[in-house]
């Protein structure tokens, strides 16, 4: 019977397995063990695959690199008649990758049936999260996919590093997969006061006992955008004098006196003999009055309305820039984001009672 099964395994698995394009075919790491399996040398296949798996595990290779070796090892053990060992290997495989299914074109039903039964009884999950993401606390949510090996009840929680509860995200049954969400806040609706929390998924066996705990660390960082600098007040040199100085007034008065004097002095300068002239006095008087009016118009300390208006425009423009910067800074202060970095997941096996 064992030989018959081996032949079936060879006919089915061997015909398909060697194809390099097939995911569960022979690959570089496990090529020797898979070749031995395909040659029905299950003992040598098991030994070789165990050796290669031990080396990969010691090297900390990711689960995806080990699943292929595990499925062949389980199949080899099964065909060697070591069912318990095969179940243990398949259980290990399910823990590594709850989504894994053996290729039914490669492995015979004897193998896939055992694997399916192991998978159905093994209550474990995988957590899929983006390695780095940013969320706006309270607005959009940090999401994680929980993928189950089989129907089970899970509790998804966020915990402090010491294991104390931080937020409960979900508790209930899970069939194939479940998306859990976190709004980035703690139980009081505030930003997280800590830099790291643990996303923990506890799987319960049908008996109600916790069968597996999977957790991964989430490093949290509150990102506050830089605020704008306060706009600088225009330099004093940019402002025009708002009060008249005395220079213009003196110039007006002096100019009026000089021109008036020149008008009156013309006859003596040119040697004219025109005698007294009312028009000369009228012009001199007009110019003199104009000078006095100019003095009054430009008197020292007189407010210069044009300059006052120009300066006010300058101040208004600065205040508008200040208001704009204030509004922008308020917006930026409110635009707090939470950067989440997910670390590697680890499995915690609860102690047996």
């Amino acid at each position: 019977m064992k030989r018959l099964v081996a032949w079936v395994a060879f006919l089915v698995g061997g015909a398909v397995g060697p194809r390099p394009a097939v995911g569960q075919g022979a690959s570089g790491t496990f090529a020797e063990g898979i070749r031995a399996y395909q040659n029905l040398e299950f003992g040598r296949a098991a030994a070789t695959l165990r050796r290669d798996l031990a080396r990969l595990t010691a090297a900390g290779a990711p689960a995806a690199d080990r699943v292929q070796g595990l499925v062949y090892l389980g199949a080899a053990d099964l065909f060697r008649g070591r069912r318990d060992s095969a179940v243990a290997v398949f259980k290990r495989l399910v823990h590594l990758d709850p989504r894994f299914l053996p290729d039914r074109l490669v492995f015979p039903p004897e193998v896939t049936t055992v694997f399916d039964s192991v998978r159905a009884l093994t209550k474990t999950v995988a957590i899929l999260v983006p390695p780095d993401t940013q969320v706006a606390p309270g607005a959009n949510n940090f999401g994680a996919w929980v993928v189950a090996s089989s129907f089970q009840t899970v509790e998804v929680t966020l915990r402090y590093e010491d294991g104390a509860p931080f937020r409960s995200l979900y508790a209930g049954p899970i069939g194939d997969s479940l998306r859990v969400q976190w709004d980035g806040l703690d139980a009081a609706g505030q930003l997280p006061p800590v830099g790291r929390v643990l996303l923990r998924v506890a799987s319960r066996a049908p008996t109600g006992e916790i069968s597996t705990i999977l957790q991964l660390p989430l490093d949290l960082r509150i990102v506050r955008p830089d605020t704008l600098d306060w706009p600088a007040l225009p330099p004093p040199s940019a402002f025009l004098p708002e009060r008249a100085g005395g220079r213009s007034a003196v110039r007006a008065l002096l100019g009026g006196v000089l021109v008036s004097g020149a008008v009156l002095a013309i006859p003596s300068v040119v040697g004219g003999s025109g005698g007294p002239s009312g028009s000369r006095v009228a012009v001199a008087g007009t110019v003199g009055i104009a000078g006095m009016v100019g003095y009054l118009l430009h008197r020292p300390g007189r407010p210069l309305q044009a300059n006052i208006r120009a300066n006010q425009l300058l101040r208004d423009a600065w205040q508008q820039r200040v208001a704009k910067a204030t509004a922008e800074n308020a917006r930026r202060r409110g635009d707090v984001r939470l950067a989440v970095h997910a670390g590697p997941a680890s499995v915690i096996q609860p102690r047996a009672p």
Binding site: R251, P267, V269, V283, G294
Partner: protein, 214 residues
């Protein structure tokens, strides 16, 4: 070498002229004129209003000034006959300093009398100082001139002539308009063939209004 220097000088002058723009100004004036003629035989005095205008065309530092007035002056006091007075000048000036302009050109005056027309032509050198003294709205100016030569069709021979004008020009802020009020006087000395001296003095009040695109 000299040709090269001349060409370089002309080139610089041409470049300076190209960079300038023409700035015309024109003003219509009413001149209250008084003519006093002192002869050995006695003094005759005339007065009257004359109307005319003057215009300037500035081009950088160069300035061309043209003036023309005419009117009738009547004998003052005794009620004798009056006569027509026409006066004009063409002066080419240059701005030596921002406030000082020197000009040269002919200045002609004619009296139409019953006995004939007296023509007085002076070639003058003028110096005019002007500066704003009430903000930029009012400019005061003083102008003095002296005749370099004269051509007069009167029996007396020309000795010398000089004159002056002082006043102010008000520019309106919101329009290219200007108003002028000034007092002017010129004085001519002539010698008679018999030893007498003739003194001609013309003075007047100038009130004008015009445009200025400076």
């Amino acid at each position: 070498m000299r040709r090269a220097l001349l060409l370089a000088g002309l080139s610089l002058l041409a470049r300076a002229l190209v960079a300038q723009t023409l700035e015309p100004a024109g003003i219509v004036s009413v001149v209250s004129t008084r003519v006093r003629s002192q002869l050995p035989s006695g003094t005759a005095q005339f007065s009257g209003a004359m109307v005319g205008g003057n215009g300037t065309l500035s081009f950088g530092r160069l300035q061309l000034a043209v003036s023309y007035v005419q009117g009738k002056v009547d004998s003052a006091g005794v009620g004798g006959p009056g006569h027509d007075l026409v006066e004009g000048s063409v002066l080419l000036g240059a701005q030596a300093l921002p406030w000082l302009t020197l000009a040269v050109g002919p200045h002609a005056r004619s009296y139409t009398l019953t006995s004939g027309t007296q023509r007085w032509v002076f070639w003058e050198l003028r110096a005019r100082a002007a500066a704003a003294f009430i903000g930029s709205a009012a400019r005061g100016y003083v102008e003095l001139w002296r005749a370099l030569s004269a051509d007069v069709n009167v029996p007396e021979s020309f000795d010398h002539a000089q004159g002056g004008e002082a006043g102010m020009i008000i520019r309106f802020a919101r329009a290219p308009l200007q108003a002028r009020v000034a007092y002017r006087m010129d004085h001519t000395v002539l010698h008679g063939s018999l030893g007498g001296t003739r003194l001609e003095t013309v003075d007047g009040l100038v009130v004008g209004f015009g445009v200025d695109w400076h």
